[in-house]
């Protein structure tokens, strides 16, 4: 989104003797080039972990040796609580499932829930925030009070209430994924709402919005063309932070028994709940692997989000050494410009 809004403006800038391909201006690639030292290390580490997570989620079918609900193969049942061995590299659970397969399939479930939850909360949160911020009035006041009330409330409890409403507490694969995703969505709408609303309030007083009004552009056109396009600057940040929280909320729901049925999909939180009693008898493999999977996936996404956050803020961004100062200054100055650049591009359209 942000790449799109930058494109019309950066073209004239291309006449300067600085070569930047389209690739270099894509959101993450741009930040990667901009980063130095430790920040770059953190960003790269985050990107690698996230990539591993996404790959195992997408290709779960080919990576996992067994199905997530498979209890036996040609040579008989897997057996319950078997320690790691060549045929089951991470052992089997108390229910007789293969731990490695369930961890890989669990990545797929988590990714599906994450994507659905984020798409839903972006659409609803952005729409409500835009309406509230641009139109104002009593609608704005009511929505702000409601959003604040929800925001202050423990998110897990709200997600529990939502999952009771949607599925009565248990469900099939897609039913469960949607139930979990909608539960998570309701929790995160206030965050998108707040950010977009405050941006919309700021932007609606800009000169280009006024001139659009003078020309006679309709309210929806101003809202979606001029205001929305310029208020999406911070979205990638909230997006990454919420993606990680979605994984945690899903696992929390699963741990309390409000996630997806074990036969419908693999879910890390559910597996951890079942492993709770194993731990006291010294069986570590049923708990460690799904737990580490959660930690790593959240860690990866959070590292990316944190790095993007730091790189977007000139006060927190690391600088290159003094020797490379002119180059660094040139490339550093760009993201600071993003706001006016985006505003101008919205104006010109």
């Amino acid at each position: 989104m942000s790449a799109e809004t930058q494109r019309p403006e950066t073209k004239p800038r291309m006449q300067e003797p600085r070569k930047q391909s389209l690739l270099a201006r894509l959101p993450v690639v741009h930040q990667l080039r901009q980063s130095v030292g430790l920040q770059r290390g953190m960003l790269i580490a985050g990107l690698i972990i996230t990539a591993v997570y996404v790959i195992s989620a997408v290709f779960a079918q080919w990576i996992a040796p067994y199905g997530f609900a498979q209890l036996r193969n040609a040579s008989g049942p897997f057996g319950s609580q078997q320690p790691p061995s060549p045929s089951h590299i991470w052992g089997t659970t108390v229910g007789g499932y293969d731990v490695f397969s369930r961890v890989i399939w669990g990545a797929q479930t988590a990714l599906e829930v994450m994507v659905v939850a984020i798409i839903l909360s972006i659409f609803i949160g952005v729409f409500l925030g835009l309406m509230s911020g641009y139109l104002g009035g009593w609608l704005d006041r009511i929505l702000v009070v409601i959003a604040d009330a929800i925001y202050a409330f423990p998110s897990l409890l709200l997600a529990i209430v939502m999952s009771i409403v949607i599925s009565g507490g248990q469900s099939s694969l897609w039913g469960g994924i949607f139930a979990a995703a909608i539960s998570i969505t309701v929790v995160y709408i206030p965050q998108y709402f707040r950010v977009i609303r405050s941006e919309a309030v700021r932007i609606k007083n800009e000169a280009f919005v006024e001139s659009a009004m003078v020309i006679g552009a309709s309210t929806p056109r101003i809202m979606f063309r001029h205001v929305l396009r310029n208020s999406t600057r911070t979205l990638p940040l909230i997006f990454t932070l919420n993606a990680s929280e979605a994984v945690l909320t899903l696992a929390g729901l699963g741990f309390l028994g409000f996630g997806i049925e074990p036969t419908a999909a693999a879910e890390w939180g559910y597996d951890l709940n079942k492993s709770l009693s194993d731990v006291t008898s010294g069986i570590w493999w049923t708990a460690i692997f799904p737990g580490l999977a959660i930690v790593l996936s959240v860690l990866g996404v959070t590292l990316v989000g944190e790095s993007l956050n730091d790189l977007a803020d000139p006060r927190l961004r690391g600088r290159r050494a003094v020797a490379a100062a002119p180059v660094a200054a040139a490339s550093d100055s760009e993201p600071v410009d993003v706001a006016p650049v985006a505003a101008k591009s919205g104006d010109s359209q």
Binding site: G37, L38, Q39, G41, M42, V145, I146, D148, A149, I150, A152, F153, P154, S155, L156, L157, I160, V161, M162, I164, V165, G168, G169, S244, L248, A251, G252, F255, L256, G257, F258, G269, L272, N273, S275, L276, V279, T280, S281, G282, W284, A287, I288, G291, I294, V295, V298, L299, T302, L303, E306, R315, L316, G318
Partner: protein
Amino acid sequence: MSSLTAQAAPETAAESTTSFKKQRTGGGLGRYIVVRFLLIIPTIFILVTLVFFLMRLTGDPITAALGGRLSGSQLHERIHAAGYDRPILVQYFEYLGQIATGNFGTSISDNRPITTILVTYGAATLELAFYALIVAFIVGIPLGMLAAYFRDKGQDAALRVFAILCYATPVFFAGILLKLIFSVWLNVLPVAGRASTGSEFEMQDLPNKTGFYLIDAFQTGDPAVISDVLLHAVLPALTLGLLTAGIFLRLVRTNVIGTLNTDYVDAARSRGVSEYRLVRKHAYKPALIPIITVIGLQIALLLSGAVLTESTFEWKGLGFQLAQYLGARDFVAVQGIVALLAVIVALTNFVVDVAAAIIDPRVRY
């Protein structure tokens, strides 16, 4: 001496009243507290309304709890007796009236008033939250200052990764890991519960039991009981405390770095104040103000975390009880506890905001 204080007293009193009047014209603390207190009411009202209608969308709670176990006519009788067949708006206004008088309903599965559940189990949750906050302060604040001091160096990166790890680890997994290491492999700490049966028995007959096991343990005066209670608290406190510590660390780091960039710190630096003293004395205190405000928001996180921590360690508090009722599909109890927690969250946020306003006058309206 006494005449001196007697003379001084009216003077200070007069001074404080004049300053109070001055403040009043610009929006004083008193006005802020009143406005902020009135804002609690819509918050509680919205949350209670939301939870009520959401829970009723699924149907009546009696069918949910006892659906499979009673015949159709018996179910209908129970539903009628409880009044769940009346129009939803009538039930809603009755519910609002009940909440206004402090009645949060009665659980279906074990027929106990929700307020009794709060009194019985609230102390355990409060005790856990208290321990967790201590851990969070002890770990989070010094490490955050350290990270700001070593900004952008290796130590800083390590501390930040530690903070992200604290946040990225689900509390129940952290609990399981700590259990595995300290209770099973090293066998130095108890696996679960708030105290061993022996200690609980000893604390049972106390004349004025508080429900706070640490206070009760001190009342028995038995060192074995005290150490038993403390040993049981270590792992749950670490589990919940580290989650919050990660957030405190990040907050302190960002805020101290922010204040280190201000003019007055530059001025102090130019006077030759040491870098250590800058962080410790000059940047630290102003950085604490936003942290106090954020603690208010952490209460919600702490409660979410407490539900999961208590389930992991069989710590018999409100969260553990909530998980039990969820398992039993007792949605009246769930609704009651959730509504009660909404009130608690709203009240805590009020107290925190007022505290922030007392410390930092700029916060006031």
